[in-house]
Symmetry: C2
Subunit: 262 residues, 2 copies
Amino acid sequence: MEKLIFIGLGLGNEKGITLKGLEAARSCDTLFMENYTSILEEGSIQRLEKLLEKPIILLDRTGVENEGRMVEASEKSVVGFLVPGDAMSATTHVDLRLRAAENGIPTEIIHGVSVFTAVPGLLGLQNYKFGRTITVPLPEPNFRPTSFYEKALENYNAGLHTLCLLDIKQDRKKFMTANEALEVLGSIEEELHGGLLPPDRLVCVVARAGSDNVMAKAGLFRDMLTENFGGPLHSVVIPGRLHFLEAKALVELAGAPTSILQ
Amino acid sequence: MEKLIFIGLGLGNEKGITLKGLEAARSCDTLFMENYTSILEEGSIQRLEKLLEKPIILLDRTGVENEGRMVEASEKSVVGFLVPGDAMSATTHVDLRLRAAENGIPTEIIHGVSVFTAVPGLLGLQNYKFGRTITVPLPEPNFRPTSFYEKALENYNAGLHTLCLLDIKQDRKKFMTANEALEVLGSIEEELHGGLLPPDRLVCVVARAGSDNVMAKAGLFRDMLTENFGGPLHSVVIPGRLHFLEAKALVELAGAPTSILQ
């Protein structure tokens, strides 16, 4: 009955961790890290190992047996589970916490910075005005879901912004680009004609949130489809009704056309 | 044309800051801090000054002229603006960033951990299933808004969870408790009968998110009204439709009645 500590690593690189997280990670006997729901910049894991003066055991998505290993290790030592972004955003982490609890192992959460608040903040959009978040999946042959489009459309019709998180296939080193996500959304628009994405709809892209070379860009759907946003990770926001200050922020800070101010 | 850096302090105490934020704050010529949209634990500011080896100039809500002072200082030196929680959640901060941009001053954002993701994570609820966030205001004589109740009801009817942030009147050292917020919501329920809060509705409270003495509790509305959640800050969540894993988490980790599993 030792302990399992979930430690959020935040965004960007190894410096996204909080002081509290750093202290806790250093105090752990063993450190695991998941590397598939989000990623840090190249070299971050190696630098984090140096910073923590401890090796980190990397887990991939198929590492369910490794979860068993984590729970087992937590029974007789203090185990840290390092998670890029916030510590508890993925269902599998909640599941892991429950499995620990069922085995009588105390758990603790040390939160990390998340795209859920970083992306709105970078665009100057208010958290309060976002509806539910969607995830845009990479296209797969013979599998064309549209439910995420419908949720974004519901948000839009209610005047709310939509944060669109983009698919990651870490095993194939594939990170969906904003262009790919806009294409997927646009092809569903062509099919369903819901009115979410006419060619002149304002859309926003944030690339590499939390990094030194972050990019926040707002523009018309038709123009953004072919814009180059550079390396991963990308997020997309489809704004609903804009408060004047939000519109001004998108123009001044993200290059939106001044026509949105009228 | 020097620089203005927005630095999120995260939750809890001075150790909620990221390594990136710490380095940036240490490199600033002058540090301001806002102390009214959220708070850190007692003594945190003093300990932060020690950690940063620099004095911190505190601003209150009426310090609009101080914003002018910050913009002015940023023109000829590197200024850090320390903000509890995430750096850009408040409209006034977006406004400040725009004022800096209009004066040709480059700005940078270093994100902090926010209740927006910490509270769902502590309860084991999925971020994706939250509708828009509401703020519950402290009751004022002759001012009884109900719009926040209606937004929460819309979320509930759409099957979505609602994060309720609670009012802070820092100038009066008044932090709304979860009990007060539930009372306000309950009195509107009695008036409008929308069906958001019948006595047996499940509600959740998180107290002191990000602190060592954090508390996450789920229970029936009628019971939670009189429960003691301890010191500030409190947040309330009104869950919508629960996924089985979410319900299990609320039972195992937050003491919800097992009846919600049926």
